[in-house]
């Protein structure tokens, strides 16, 4: 067992720290999408290899060799310094890797550079009102009319739809094919006529999502990634990537550190919460689980470095990471008691109201990105080799 990254990485980390110190005043704070401070920060990070590090130069990236440890150090150092790292969002985290793997040369040149630069913002059109966990049953249709696809249907849970320039969207193009083989992966502009966007307010009372409606939306025929009917496989090439990033153990660890401080500050009667053995025991229980998931993550990283696949540890991380984070935020609310109920702009808030907000937000993440139940299907079927549910001869759908 060797938990050091090696001396060459110590140097790398040191240089990165110096870079962050030197430039931290230029880092954008709450800057809107596509604003100049955001774009120039992103440009600076790409030039220095701290964003888009492994993406080839001809597509606007830094062109560095793949190196998992460097990627990890970048994440750790920006988080520790509390300085924003490179741009995220579904365009950069999901579409760019998909295009790199399956896009045409022309698509790569057209879409990747402006996306990386923060000039082109994307949203993801996957889920539909009647296609959630059973995503492959999606019904939004696209039919060819001359040189154009004509799209009709609707999407839901579409983050940033109201801010996006483009959408990458799963649509049914082969209605007679088996459901997984009838889907295509299309790219189109969000200002195309026939698109309507309605904000979807979630339980945090923020419009974090949207509903998007398509009525005879006409899209050029060649704006497709992969072939007709291959959209399911195109989307799945990167879906696992999203799951990996939900419930990040390092973020959970820093929340745990803050929770301990909070429990020293809050009192009940004349007693600090941390001095109450019941609260303290709950804290220690959670701490062991936070540690476990951090080491689980280290195990996944280590196996990647050694070219092996730690299947089960990888599969359980979304399920456990989101459930744990929800519980941790909930303990903070209990530690605060009635103060934990405070919400919205208020002088009574602790930590800007983040505990109540994250408590609810992570309930959303337990559901989003593949629900906990779907995760358990994946773990039992692909991890433990248990059989799928048999298909029903007759539909058990509710009578309409």
């Amino acid at each position: 067992m060797d938990l050091s990254y090696g001396p060459q990485y110590d140097t790398y980390r040191q240089e990165l720290r110096e870079f962050i110190e030197k430039h931290r005043d230029q880092a954008p704070r709450n800057a809107p999408l596509k604003s100049d401070p955001l774009k120039s920060w992103q440009k600076l990070l790409i030039e220095n290899g701290y964003a888009a590090r492994t993406i080839p130069k001809e597509y606007g990236g830094h062109g560095g060799e793949p190196d998992l440890i460097k990627g990890r150090i970048i994440g750790e150092e920006f988080a520790q310094a509390q300085v924003p790292s490179g741009l995220g969002g579904q365009g950069i985290s999901m579409l760019v890797p998909t295009l790199l793997e399956l896009g045409t040369e022309e698509q790569k040149r057209q879409f990747i550079p402006p996306t990386l630069a923060g000039e082109m913002v994307w949203c993801q059109g996957y889920s539909e009102p009647n296609a959630g966990s059973d995503l492959a049953s999606l019904r939004t249709s696209a039919t060819l009319d001359g040189d154009e696809w004509v799209i009709n249907g609707s999407k839901i849970w579409t983050s940033t739809a109201h801010l996006a320039d483009w959408i990458f969207c799963l649509v049914r193009t082969e209605p007679d094919a088996p459901k997984h083989q009838g889907i295509s992966f299309l790219l189109f502009r969000m200002d195309t006529p026939g698109i309507e966007i309605r904000p979807l307010v979630d339980m945090t009372l923020a419009p974090n999502f949207n509903e998007v409606f398509f009525t005879d939306v006409r899209v050029p025929k060649d704006q497709i990634v992969g072939k007709r009917g291959e959209g399911w496989y195109v989307a799945n090439a990167i879906l696992g990537h999203e799951r990996d990033s939900l419930g990040d153990p390092n973020a959970t660890l820093s929340r745990m550190t803050r929770l301990i401080e909070l429990m020293k500050e809050e009192t009940i009667g004349n007693e600090r919460i941390i001095d109450n053995p019941v609260y303290r025991d709950r804290l220690m229980k959670l701490q062991a689980r936070v540690m476990s998931l951090r080491f689980n993550d280290l195990r996944v990283l280590s196996s990647r470095l050694n070219n092996t696949d730690a299947r089960l540890p990888r599969m359980i991380s979304k399920l456990q990471g989101t459930e744990l984070r929800h519980e941790l935020e909930g303990l903070a609310i209990d530690a605060m008691g009635e103060t934990g109920l405070m919400y919205g702009a208020s002088e009574f808030l602790r930590d800007g109201g983040s505990w109540q907000n994250q408590y609810m937000y992570f309930l959303g993440l337990i559901i989003g990105g593949g629900t906990s139940q779907i995760q358990k299907n994946i773990i039992s079927e692909r991890g433990l080799g248990m059989p799928k549910e048999p298909k029903f001869e007759q539909s058990t759908a509710k009578a309409s």
């Binding site: 025991d281 701490q287 476990s292 280290l298 050694n306 540890p313 248990m386 549910e389």
Partner: protein, 360 residues
């Protein structure tokens, strides 16, 4: 960067597992459980031949001189096979305590006998970690007086015993003024007894100290956690296999989501615990500042996960899980033993809080 078991650890586990599968089947465990619990010589001899018994004994005394983590991962194999041997006591805690705090003469006397399998040393440490009732022993003028409860291995040749001042001593089975009373308990793979001492002569370890005691308890907790890990993994494996073969409603029950999700939940609890235990073992070997904290958390957390798996895997087996026919209860009880022995999870979590100055 390499976070995982070493080649050596994996190959030792493979050898030990192969031996236990062949020579220490559940039938053999049942046989042990129904006798008077004297040493299972056949299994012990096999473990001596594999070097496992002397794993922590320094090479100059005939052992392998390996690390605490190396020893702990063997615990995983023994838990997996519910093996009824005094491994934790004789092979892990006693040699570590004697090597750290014994005189040269004591090392010569005890360590080589441990390594060649000719002596077993049980543990009388419960009073030194989470004492119950009025038990406890006092040292005066070269002898011990008092009661030690929940002492492992009633047939051991010696016991390692901690007095009220956290000093360590060795007493011999057969010493004058020593009464041994078996304490029948739920896990029949690890028998317990009570020792009553009245001015009983002992062999005191001159360099023992609260620090040595704490270190050997950290090693013990980590090894017990690995034992539970092995038992829990075995219970999950058995539950999945049973569910893949048992048919109801014209289907194997492994195809029902209710059953699959129970198995997925077990796996989702076991895998991160495994990583926590690896780190706890690593921290012990590195003598890292956080070794004690992680040893506390490893045993407490693994106890909770083990309890969950013990219950859930039994339920997956339905009525058969509840019978003696299948013998699944040997694992259930082994996990139950590991949970309480040398401190239960609530007490250990309090130790974890103390280690971080979060409790007094």
């Amino acid at each position: 960067m390499d976070f995982g078991l070493s080649e050596l650890q994996l190959s030792m586990q493979e050898n030990v597992n192969r031996f236990l599968e062949e020579e220490a089947s559940l039938d053999r465990v049942r046989e042990f459980a129904t006798t008077d619990h004297s040493l299972a010589e056949d299994i012990w001899r096999g473990l001596v031949n594999l070097g496992v018994v002397g794993i922590l004994v320094p090479e100059e005394h005939g052992g392998l001189g390996l690390s605490a983590m190396d020893a702990a991962v063997i615990g995983e194999c023994l838990g997996h096979h519910v093996t009824p041997v005094p491994y934790l006591s004789t092979c892990v805690v006693a040699p570590r305590a004697i090597a750290l705090s014994g005189s040269d003469a004591q090392k010569d006397e005890y360590l080589s006998k441990i390594a060649d399998g000719s002596a077993t040393i049980g543990l009388a440490l419960s009073e030194a970690c989470a004492p119950r009732g009025k038990s406890g022993v006092t040292f005066r003028d070269g002898a011990l007086t008092g009661t030690a409860s929940f002492v492992s291995d009633p047939h051991a040749d010696h016991w390692l015993i901690a007095d009220r001042d956290a000093k360590l001593h060795v007493i011999a089975n057969g010493a004058p003024n020593l009464e041994i009373k078996v304490m029948p308990q739920i896990d029949r793979t690890r028998p317990l007894c009570e020792l009553t001492l009245s001015n009983t002569p002992c062999d005191s370890l001159p360099n023992s100290s609260p620090e040595v005691l704490r270190h050997v308890l950290d090693v013990a907790w980590t090894t017990l956690a690995f034992d539970t890990l092995g038992s829990a993994q075995s219970m999950l494996d058995q539950a999945v296999e049973y569910a893949m073969n048992r048919e109801q409603f014209n289907r194997v029950i492994a195809s029902f989501q209710a059953v699959k999700h129970m198995c997925a939940e077990m796996a989702a609890e076991i895998e991160p615990s495994r990583a926590l235990l690896w780190y706890a073992g690593y921290a012990l070997d590195e003598a890292s500042d956080d070794a004690h904290l992680h040893a506390c958390h490893a045993k407490a957390h693994m106890a909770e996960v083990g309890t969950f798996v013990g219950k859930t895997a039994t339920v997956v087996h339905g009525g058969m899980g509840f019978t003696d026919l299948l013998g699944l209860h040997y694992w259930f009880k082994r996990i139950g033993f590991n949970r309480q022995f040398l401190g239960g999870p609530e007490w250990l979590r309090e130790q974890a809080a103390i280690a971080q100055n979060l409790a007094a």
